[in-house]
Subunit: 397 residues, 2 copies
Amino acid sequence: MDNATLYTHVRPAGGEIASVLVRDGRFAAIDGPVPDSVPRVYGGGAIMLPGLIDAHAHLDKTMYGMPWYRNEVGPRLIDKIDNERLEKRRLGIDPYRQSARQLVMSVADGTSHIRSHVDVDTDIGVAAIEGVMRARDQYRDQIDVQIVAFPQSGLLIRPGTLALMDQALRMGADVVGGLDPAGIDRDPKGHLDAIFALADKHGKPIDIHLHEAGELGAFSMQMTIDRVLALGMQGKVTLSHSFCLGMPDAQAVQGLVDGLLEAGVHIMTTGSASRPVPNVARLHAAGVVVCTGNDGMRDTWGPYGKPDMLERTMLVGLRNNFRRDDELALALHVATYGNARVMDLADYGLAPGCHADFVLVEAETVAEAIVSRPVRKLVVKRGQVVARDGRALVEAP
Amino acid sequence: MDNATLYTHVRPAGGEIASVLVRDGRFAAIDGPVPDSVPRVYGGGAIMLPGLIDAHAHLDKTMYGMPWYRNEVGPRLIDKIDNERLEKRRLGIDPYRQSARQLVMSVADGTSHIRSHVDVDTDIGVAAIEGVMRARDQYRDQIDVQIVAFPQSGLLIRPGTLALMDQALRMGADVVGGLDPAGIDRDPKGHLDAIFALADKHGKPIDIHLHEAGELGAFSMQMTIDRVLALGMQGKVTLSHSFCLGMPDAQAVQGLVDGLLEAGVHIMTTGSASRPVPNVARLHAAGVVVCTGNDGMRDTWGPYGKPDMLERTMLVGLRNNFRRDDELALALHVATYGNARVMDLADYGLAPGCHADFVLVEAETVAEAIVSRPVRKLVVKRGQVVARDGRALVEAP
């Protein structure tokens, strides 16, 4: 039995002790007969989780490994957007180098897949897309990266951006990004028409940053739902943040949830502690696919964040007042299977036949793994060890 | 110069490199002349912070070191209260052992002082008070503990509790606790009258858990303010949680803030992500003293929490949308000087003459220390090293 390894004394998904056979980069069997010639790795009773997924990152923005950025930025969204565009050049925030650093940290923390929004604007052009693609290719044996072409500085209010978005998609960006159709672009119809046209032209899914809260966000969300239904794009569109789903008007929220379900629109939430947020349990119970991610970390927007998706899972749990073990299991479901569904990943999970992307953590239960966030004992990508005891086996630039 | 140590190459409060002389358990001088005979400890450029303070703990509740508690508790506050009282006996949550464990973990994380609410009820009597006092005495060279006699299961609705509270205070509890005068005791006037009478009788300050949100909480808060003013207890009363200050009615909140300021009532917030919370920056700007703490951790109420007050500071920052370095500095101010003020600690801080309670952390800035939460390099209590590289030098039971 070539290209095989048997992981003994592991607990898949926190269940009973088992032996898990990995062969040719995939899970082959659980507790099946295995020849003595197959090499063994002793798991010591660790929990085996499927590879963690970060479904909303900004790889090109992080300042990890650079001198501390003293944040004195103004309070508005546009302050942060404008500040970042200026600081990128002043400080030399290199998209390749910085995304490579974050990828290596993510590998060390057990992340197997990342969806990263990458800035496209008339200052930087598609250079950030190129930089992240270079890092993606360099670490393709350690982690899979999906790239969203993201008009961070606005799409229609900055003429020339649409052509750059088109260029990024021709270069191979995987997803069409969007941003606050009303709040930033001041033209919700124009913004959404442009994004859906790009998606149609390139045959790509859509992922829109929707920070707009309350009634304004509800308006943009409903316009998006209408387009998805009209264009038959069910299952292909994600609305990230969606703070409007945290508004107090329960009737209005219910109407939106019904629409999201009908249109198969997915919702990404980071569990922001300072904004109104979608209710994860309510959306999940309704059948809406929920995903999560670490969002920007240690960048010109703010100093918080680690690449650790268990920490993100904890923050989602804290925000949603999840205390019971079954509630924390739901939070982890979002950070694994929910994210895989949104990213349309094939053969994800711990079942035989799935890609052998997994992480071993020492904890008594899944809930403990989330709240304790222990150092990752072992991280495996398509059957190959990529990190051990919290350290990736590859170097960052 | 006996009983002296010179800490070289440290950065007090994240400022310039300095040498700090500690003598007889107190800070003696910064960058002053020091004889060669004084032993040196090289700080390596680490930031020196004053001892971290946890101004709201529940030492008797934690289940750290016990088997994982599978949480299947109902959603209401009273569900959690009743469940805990039953589980304490069933599971053998020993107040001495568990508080000792949390104290040792707190020392390792750089905490120099803790205010702990300790349950007093007709089931457990004053046994939890005795247990925490035993742990407090055992670790008195490592950490200072203030004990709040806390009627967790209600004061007037459980006859006999008031006499037990009186007994706990005679035994030496430092603070009179209270709990939701309306929401739990269903008798706000009776509850507050009883608590203020106990405080007057024993000459002790007051710290009330006020979970009541919105108008109900505002009502209880105003009744508390009125009593403080009538009885001249300015500066002696803390209202913990105070979710009512997070209600949307800005005018009503302003009225409460004015009252808190006039009455010198302090506010404790954990920065709860799932509840409305007081606005730290607004309260601080108004002149109200704000403090913070880790609250319960890994207990029958919920699985979250570590004793790390830098992590709590981060969570307060996240909840308050603090992104700028000056905003994070305010969060740390709350977790140090704010807490010291509420606990009425004498000679707290890094200035010459203060008790030499401090922690060294390797970070570029104070903000980085908060968001990265590095392992504590060195923890010193009254001039003596009590923890090193994240490990306390004393053992827990």
